[in-house]
Structure formats: structure tokens, C-alpha cells
């Protein structure tokens, strides 16, 4: 009864629900998710008191000894979960921004959104200085980062606005704003005293050290809400990728659609920075890697997020297993992500030359 597939694509239909079966669009995210979870399990096992991967999984399933349970669930799981969620948020944020701006450079670290978050947190650490104590010392920097990131995004959007926002202008304005914010951070570090500058620098590198459930919970809540919103925006993003005029001709309410997608991306990036600091390069590279794995016409949001999760958790694992000294995760994300992107680019070029 079913009609033969036309146009080489297999339809999936159930009642009013219908979509196209694209093997790579399903398989790549599944594989990335499995890899990310396995890496997270390895990550949880690492430390002064090593626990095997299978034991970790047994403990997470509800078995295992009391002492091991405490180490895994209370001490180490939050760190691994933070890494997963931060990577997911950065990757999704980058994929959305790159799609809306139609520019692979449009990631929160290039546009100055993470720098805005950095200024917020560093300003609080340095200027708030000794006045901070107790709860404020833990909660303060993330909240300041969140505010800083959102303010930077609003400033960039308003400065780039000229009867609408074009992607290229957004990137240029973002680079300018980012430069101003970077020098602001440098200024703050120069005027800070030694201990404040040291703790601000660690935060700025992007670190997963000492992350607890108090970091995981807000991240999870925001990702659940905003991430779901991002998923339903897929069709709008597909239309936006065709250009402003085409998108509007196809019935997309351009300004509303753009602003909503940008808003989602900014919140995702800001929460991620608030949780782990401005972990560099993840938001730029993860969507591009996912794009080449899925072979989709634009950076895929979900796969981009999962690639980000693999990158952050993988960097943490490498830092804690292969290296003699444990480095902040931010040092490794760029070192691992960049060569892989270069490899993908080189491979693709060679194939299209052939």
C-alpha cells in the first residue's frame, strides 16, 4: 500500500506526525551520546581513589559499597555531569548562533558573549574582593557571569541592529565588543591583588574542579527548558539558513524568529560559562565537527551539543589520565578540538578535489 519512496528519501509517518528518515541524523547523535556517557563513566572512576568503569556503572545502577557510593555520587559525579552539560550547552549554543548568522565564526566566544560573562565574574571576584564570603563566594561569580553574558549579548544585538541583523555585521560587531571586553578583563586582572588575580585566572581558563550538585542542578533545569525550545526551532533555523529574504518569503517572522533563536543561544552559553567558566573553542568547533559527521546543510543543534559534550568530557578524561599534571579542562578543549576540525577540513577538501 505504501507509495515507493520518492526523491531517494524514506518517509516516517504516524498519524499527523511525519518526518524524513535520515540515517546519519539519528545515528550520529546516538553514537555521540554513547561515547559521551562512556567517557563520563571513565571520568568518574579517575582520581586518587580509582574505581573501574564497570564498578562505576554498577554504583550508578544502585549497587556497590557505601564508601564507593559516596565517592562516586557525592564527589565525582557532579564534576562529570557538569562537563557533559556544559559541553552540551556550548555545542547547542554555537550551532544555533552559526545557523542564525550563517557564519561558522559566530560562536559565543568569538561574538564576545563568553567574554561578557568573564567580565561579570572577574569584576565580582576582583572588585567584590574580600567583601564576598560564605554563600556569595560560591554563587556570586556564576550569577555575575550570567548577567555579564546576557548584557554583552544585548549590547551586540543593539549595535549590530540596522533594520534587522545581518550575520556578517553581527560577527564584526561581536569581534569588536569581544576585544573591548577582553581588555576590560586584562585591566581588572592588573588592578587585582595577587590572590584575587590567581583565582580569577583559574576561573577564566575554564575549570571543572570542585563542581558540585549546586552547579549541576541549575544547569540541568535551564538545559531542559531552553534545550527543548531549541529543538522545536529546527524548521525556523532551516529556513533562516536560506537567507533573510527567502526565510521571510517562506513565512518566517524574521525578527521574532532571529531574536528568539539568538536569545536561546545566549542563555545556553551564559549558563555554561556560569557553571565552568569560559571553556574555549567548544562552541566554535563542536557544531562544525557535528556538521561534517551528520553531513547536514547547516550546523545540527542536537548533534552539535553532543559533540560538545564529548569534547569537554573527553578533555577532562585526557587531562586526568594521560597527562602527568592535571590541567584545567579549558586548556585541553582547544588543543584537542582544533586539530580534529583541521583534520575534517583537510579530508573534505581532498575528497572534493578528487
Amino acid at each position: 500500500m505504501s507509495a515507493p519512496p520518492v526523491l531517494g528519501r524514506r518517509p516516517v509517518r504516524l498519524g499527523p506526525v511525519s518526518t524524513v528518515w535520515r540515517p546519519r541524523a539519528v545515528l550520529v547523535p546516538v553514537v555521540l551520546a554513547v561515547v559521551a556517557l562512556v567517557l563520563a563513566a571513565v571520568d568518574v572512576g579517575r582520581g586518587d581513589y580509582p574505581i573501574g568503569v564497570l564498578d562505576v556503572l554498577r554504583i550508578l545502577a544502585g549497587d556497590g559499597e557505601q564508601a564507593d557510593r559516596f565517592v562516586v555520587v557525592e564527589l565525582r559525579l557532579p564534576r562529570a555531569l557538569t562537563a557533559l552539560l556544559v559541553g552540551l550547552a556550548f555545542g547547542m549554543s554555537g550551532a544555533i548562533l552559526q545557523s542564525v548568522a550563517r557564519n561558522a565564526l559566530a560562536s559565543p566566544d568569538i561574538l564576545g558573549i563568553t567574554q561578557g560573562a568573564g567580565v561579570g565574574a572577574v569584576a565580582l571576584i576582583v572588585l567584590g574582593g574580600g567583601a564576598l564570603g560564605g554563600v556569595a563566594e560560591v554563587v556570586g561569580p556564576p550569577v555575575a557571569a550570567l548577567v555579564g553574558g546576557l548584557l554583552a549579548a544585548v549590547a551586540i544585538y543593539l549595535l549590530a541592529w540596522r533594520q534587522g541583523v545581518s550575520g556578517f555585521r553581527l560577527v564584526l560587531v561581536g569581534i569588536a565588543v569581544s576585544a573591548v571586553l577582553t581588555s576590560t578583563i586584562s585591566y581588572l586582572l592588573v588592578v587585582a591583588d595577587f590572590t584575587e588575580a590567581a583565582s580569577a585566572t583559574v576561573w577564566l581558563t575554564g575549570s571543572l574542579n570542585g563542581r558540585g550538585w549546586e552547579h549541576v542542578v541549575p544547569l540541568t533545569v535551564v538545559l531542559a527548558v531552553v534545550g527543548l525550545l531549541a529543538m522545536t526551532g529546527g524548521a525556523t533555523l532551516s529556513a533562516l539558513r536560506l537567507g533573510d529574504d527567502s526565510a521571510r518569503a517562506l513565512g518566517v517572522r524574521l525578527q521574532t524568529g532571529q531574536a528568539a533563536q539568538l536569545g536561546i543561544a545566549v542563555v545556553l552559553a551564559s549558563v555554561a560559562v556560569a557553571a565552568a567558566g569560559p571553556v574555549p573553542f567548544v562552541a566554535l568547533v563542536a557544531p562544525q565537527v557535528a556538521l561534517r559527521l551528520v553531513r547536514s546543510p547547516g550546523p545540527p543543534v542536537l548533534a552539535g551539543g553532543l559533540a560538545g559534550a564529548v569534547l569537554v568530557v573527553g578533555s577532562d578524561v585526557v587531562s586526568r589520565t594521560l597527562l602527568p599534571v592535571e590541567l584545567p579542562v579549558g586548556v585541553l578543549t582547544a588543543a584537542l578540538g582544533a586539530p580534529y576540525l583541521l583534520y575534517l577540513l583537510a579530508r573534505r577538501t581532498r575528497r572534493s578535489d578528487a
Partner: protein, 288 residues
């Protein structure tokens, strides 16, 4: 769609009333009235910068008028829901660019956007309409090819297929033959012609080539400095006097040997046999 089409009547489906258009301070079109011929092909001609693309963008609701209004089925187009407009009126911008790696099938499928929801991305209707649009434009065999790897003519046909898949009665095309060689330009215009002959679609397009415009349009609109200077059947509109007036072009207008249209033969200042030229046109500028 309930009201019967009224060719040449004042109440067409798409009309512009007292339209003033511009970008910021710069006014491009002033106090313009236009009734788009229902079920016909209208070509807008005029020199560079005369406001013809701006007019088309306003008709397609890509540009908000500074004054006056565009009416779609009697209602102000800027007050209608965006999706509703997208189901009635398709618009192909000038030299659109597809993202790298987007396949022809994916591009044409985007045309279904105003009919889709996040949970309904590939219904039987979508599939049938997309397949038909691709067959019709001759890009079915290219379904899995990336748009950026196609030739100019193929690419333009793929974009027209997308606009077609949108399933609208009204179609606005901004210079559909730009960057195409003559053979491919004729190919694309034949396709547009079949659209309104076989399908009863209303087409408005901006064209640069005057002979092609005269050949393919039922109704010609000549613009200069943001105003309509003349409009009507091509043979009445395209005269040496109008070409001199609108384009500042000295040209001979001859009967087209293969159609009911006319041929525009530019005169220029060199390579011209003076005996043949004498008395063909009233020059307004340039050598004489």
C-alpha cells in the same frame, strides 16, 4: 480565491496603492500605484536603480512601505499573518544563496515550510507537491546533488522549484535570469511562461533583457526614478521614444521574426551603419 479573477480590472489580487518606499532617508519609490494582472505575466523593466527590485520586495512584503500600502486580496499585506501571506504569495529574491551542501531535494522541500509544523515535516502532500515541482522544473534527476555544485541554470530551476513547492497562486521573481547565458535564460523564462499558461499562476518578474521581457510578458511596466512611466502590452510600451526616455538608450525597435513580440536593437556610437540608423530614434543624450 473565491472571487473570480478580473483581468485588467482595478481589483486584482495584488495591488499597490500610493506606495512610497525607501531605505532610511533615501526614498526610492514615490506614490506608486500598480494593479498586478491576475493570471498573467507582468515584467517590470527600467534602468539600474529605478526602484524595480525595491517595488518587488514591497509587493512580496520583504520591505515595509514608508507610505501607502500593498493589498493582497483586498487586505493590507503587512497586517496579515506571515504564514498566511507565504501560502498565497511566493517570492524568489535576486541571486539567492543556498548553504553549502544543501541538496536540491532539501531546498525544494523548504518551500513547504509555510505548510509544515515541527511534528509534520514530510506529509504525503509535501512529498507529492515537492516531487511534482521537481519534475516540472526538470530537477528531479538532480535531487541528491548539492545546490552549490549545480550550473547556474540548474540552480535557478531548483530555486524556482522551491517557490513552486510553496503552492502559491502568486509568484514574484527578482531577475530570475541574472548570471545565466542566453540559452539558460530562455530555458528559465519558458518555464515561467508555462507556469502561468498551464497553471494559471500570476507572475511578476523583474527583467533586464528588454527583448526577452517583450517576448515573455503579457503586461510590461516601465519604471524610471521610482515612478511608472508606461505600462501595457509590450508592443505598445516598447517604442524608440520610451527607450530613449526611460533608459537614455538609442535603439531601433523591430518586429520579432519568431513571435508577436518586438526586438530591441541598441544603436550605440560605433559599429553602426549610419544609413540604417537615420530616423529610427530620437536620441536624448550621447553622440549624434
Amino acid at each position: 480565491m473565491t472571487a473570480a479573477p478580473t483581468p485588467d480590472g482595478p481589483a486584482g489580487r495584488l495591488v499597490a496603492r500610493d506606495l512610497t518606499l525607501g531605505y532610511g532617508e533615501r526614498v526610492v519609490v514615490e506614490h506608486l500605484d500598480l494593479d498586478v494582472l491576475d493570471g498573467g505575466t507582468t515584467a517590470v523593466i527600467g534602468p539600474n536603480g529605478c526602484g524595480k527590485s525595491t517595488l518587488l520586495r514591497a509587493l512580496g512584503r520583504l520591505l515595509r512601505p514608508q507610505g501607502g500600502q500593498v493589498l493582497l486580496d483586498g487586505q493590507r499585506i503587512d497586517r496579515l499573518p506571515t504564514r498566511e501571506v507565504a501560502r498565497a504569495l511566493g517570492m524568489l529574491p535576486q541571486s539567492p544563496v543556498a548553504p553549502e551542501g544543501l541538496t536540491v531535494a532539501d531546498l525544494v522541500t523548504r518551500g513547504r515550510h509555510p505548510h509544515q509544523a515541527w511534528f509534520r515535516q514530510w506529509s504525503r502532500d509535501d512529498e507529492a507537491v515537492v516531487a511534482e515541482a521537481m519534475t516540472w522544473t526538470g530537477v528531479l534527476d538532480l535531487a541528491d546533488r548539492p545546490v552549490d555544485a549545480l550550473s547556474g541554470g540548474q540552480r535557478q530551476r531548483a530555486w524556482i522549484a522551491m517557490a513552486l513547492a510553496q503552492g502559491t497562486d502568486l509568484l514574484l521573481l527578482d531577475e530570475p535570469t541574472t548570471h545565466l547565458d542566453l540559452a539558460h535564460a530562455v530555458d528559465v523564462l519558458d518555464l515561467v511562461d508555462r507556469l502561468h499558461h498551464d497553471r494559471g499562476r500570476t507572475v511578476v518578474m523583474v527583467l533586464h533583457d528588454l527583448s526577452l521581457a517583450a517576448r515573455y510578458a503579457d503586461h510590461l511596466v516601465a519604471m524610471r526614478d521610482g515612478r511608472i512611466v508606461a505600462q501595457g502590452p509590450p508592443r505598445e510600451v516598447i517604442t524608440p521614444e520610451l527607450l530613449a526616455d526611460v533608459f537614455g538608450l538609442r535603439a531601433a525597435v523591430l518586429p520579432d521574426p519568431v513571435s508577436d513580440g518586438v526586438l530591441v536593437v541598441p544603436i550605440g556610437t560605433r559599429h553602426t551603419r549610419q544609413a540604417a540608423v537615420r530616423g529610427t530614434s530620437a536620441p536624448t543624450r550621447g553622440a549624434a
